[in-house]
C-alpha cells in the first residue's frame, strides 16, 4: 500500500495518509482531483469495486467528509479516498458514470445529509424518507430527540433512572 501511495503521489497532490490495517488505507484527496484519482485506481491499479460512498459531518470544521471506499478483489486490498467539501451549500461532482452504483449512494447522501450531486440520476427523488419537512436528519445539527418529541406522542409512565442513584436506592434503601 505504501508503494501505491508513492505512485499516486507522483501523479496527484494527495493529503493525509492513514494506514488502518495492512490491507486498508485511507488517503485524503483534493475535491477537484477525485475523479482522475478514481479513474486511475479503477483502470490502472485494479480497484474495480466501489464498496461504499458515505459522509461524515464535521460540524466544528464546517466540512463534510465524503469517503469513497474502493476494493481490489484480486490483491485483496482496500483504499478509502477522503474528500473534504464545504458544509454549507455542499455540492460534489457525481461519479455515477464511473460506477453506476454510486447513484444510489448519492441519492442517500442527498436525502440524509443534503449534499447535492448535480447530474446524478433521480437525485431529487425521495429515497428512504417520505415527505420529509425538516433539515436532513443525518446532519449533526438536527436534533432527533426534539423532532421525535414534537412529532410522535409519548405514552406517559416512561421514566429514566440514573443507574448509579437507582442501584443505590435498590441496594441500600436506608441510605447506608
Amino acid at each position: 500500500m505504501r508503494e501505491l501511495h508513492s505512485r499516486l503521489k507522483q501523479l496527484f497532490p494527495l493529503g493525509e495518509l492513514t494506514e488502518q490495517r495492512p490491507d486498508l488505507t485511507f488517503v485524503t484527496v483534493p475535491q477537484e482531483h477525485l475523479r482522475s484519482v478514481l479513474l486511475h485506481l479503477r483502470d490502472r491499479e485494479g480497484f474495480t469495486h466501489l464498496i461504499l460512498l458515505t459522509a461524515v459531518d464535521w460540524i466544528e470544521e464546517e466540512r463534510f467528509q465524503l469517503t469513497y471506499l474502493l476494493s481490489d478483489r484480486l490483491q485483496q486490498r482496500t483504499v478509502g479516498l477522503r474528500v473534504m467539501i464545504q458544509r454549507d451549500n455542499a455540492t460534489m461532482q457525481s461519479i455515477h458514470d464511473v460506477w453506476p452504483t454510486a447513484a444510489t449512494y448519492q441519492r442517500e447522501l442527498r436525502e440524509m445529509f443534503g449534499i447535492a450531486f448535480p447530474g446524478s440520476p433521480r437525485i431529487d427523488d425521495e429515497f428512504i424518507l417520505e415527505g420529509w419537512n425538516d433539515i436532513p436528519p443525518y446532519r449533526r445539527d438536527f436534533d432527533t430527540l426534539k423532532y421525535s418529541e414534537a412529532n410522535y406522542s409519548d405514552r406517559p409512565g416512561r421514566i429514566t433512572h440514573d443507574p448509579a442513584e437507582h442501584m443505590k436506592q435498590q441496594l441500600y434503601p436506608n441510605g447506608k
Binding site: 428512504i128 424518507l129 417520505e130 415527505g131 420529509w132 419537512n133 425538516d134 436528519p137 438536527f142 432527533t144 430527540l145 423532532y147 421525535s148 412529532n151 410522535y152 406522542s153 409519548d154 405514552r155 409512565g157 416512561r158
Partner: protein, 213 residues
C-alpha cells in the same frame, strides 16, 4: 386518447349495464361503519367462538418481530395447532400483527393493509417499540404509540417477545374475542376522524384517498 381509455358503457355478466371511466381511481368512498352484534347474544357468542378459533394473520412484518414469527410457522412451535395461520393478503386475514418498530413510511402501508382487511379484524402490537417506542424512543422516523394510529386490541411486551410469549398472546386474544372484548374495528369506525387526524399528523405526504380500499 386511446380507445381503451375512453369512458364507455359495459354490460356485466348479470345483464346490468354500467359506465366505466378507465382513468378514474375507483375506491370505496364510504368511511367504515360500526358492525353491530348479532340480534341475540347467544348467536353473537357462537360467532365469537368461531372467530376465536380461526385467527388468520396477515403476513406483514414491520420490524425485527417479523423474524420471531417465523419459528411459529415451523414444527418446533407450530402455531397452526391453535388455529392460527398466516395469509398472504389482507382480504384473507383478520389479525394484523405489528411486529416491532414502525417507521412512518411503513405506517402508511400498515394503515392501507388494515383498512383492506375485512371486519371483524384485530390488531396486536408486538414488542416494546409499539407500546412506548422502545429503543427507538428518540428516533426521527418511528412512531412511539401504535394505539394513536390503529386500534390495538392486545400488546405483547418484550424486545423481542419470544415465540412462547406470542403463543401466550394468541391464547389471550382468543379469550378476549370469545368474551366479545375485541372491538377494535368498531372503535376505529367510531373514532375514524380522530385516527385519521393522528395518522395525517405524522404521514406528511398523504398521497392516498382518505378511505382507500
Amino acid at each position: 386518447m386511446k380507445d381503451e381509455l375512453k369512458i364507455r358503457v359495459v354490460k356485466g355478466p348479470d345483464g346490468v349495464e354500467f359506465e366505466v371511466e378507465p382513468l378514474r381511481d375507483y375506491y370505496c368512498e364510504a368511511p367504515p361503519t360500526v358492525m353491530p352484534g348479532a340480534y341475540i347474544s347467544i348467536v353473537e357468542d357462537l360467532f365469537n367462538w368461531a372467530r376465536s378459533e380461526s385467527i388468520w394473520i396477515l403476513g406483514f412484518g414491520t420490524g425485527c418481530g417479523a423474524i420471531e414469527m417465523r419459528p411459529l410457522m415451523t414444527p418446533r412451535f407450530d402455531a397452526y395447532r391453535f388455529g392460527v395461520q398466516w395469509r398472504p393478503t389482507p382480504r384473507q386475514a383478520n389479525l394484523l400483527m405489528i411486529s416491532g418498530y414502525l417507521s412512518t413510511k411503513t405506517l402508511k402501508r400498515a394503515i392501507r393493509s388494515y383498512e383492506q382487511m375485512q371486519s371483524p379484524k384485530y390488531v396486536v402490537g408486538l414488542g416494546s417499540c409499539t407500546i412506548n417506542g422502545g429503543m427507538y424512543w428518540d428516533s426521527y422516523n418511528t412512531i412511539k404509540r401504535l394505539d394513536d394510529y390503529l386500534p390495538v386490541d392486545l400488546y405483547i411486551a418484550g424486545c423481542m417477545p419470544r415465540p412462547e410469549a406470542l403463543l401466550a398472546g394468541f391464547q389471550d386474544i382468543k379469550k378476549m374475542i370469545r368474551a366479545g372484548k375485541c372491538e377494535g374495528a368498531n372503535r376505529y369506525a367510531e373514532n375514524f376522524d380522530w385516527y385519521k387526524a393522528n395518522q395525517k399528523r405524522v404521514i406528511h405526504d398523504w398521497d392516498m384517498p382518505d378511505y382507500s380500499w
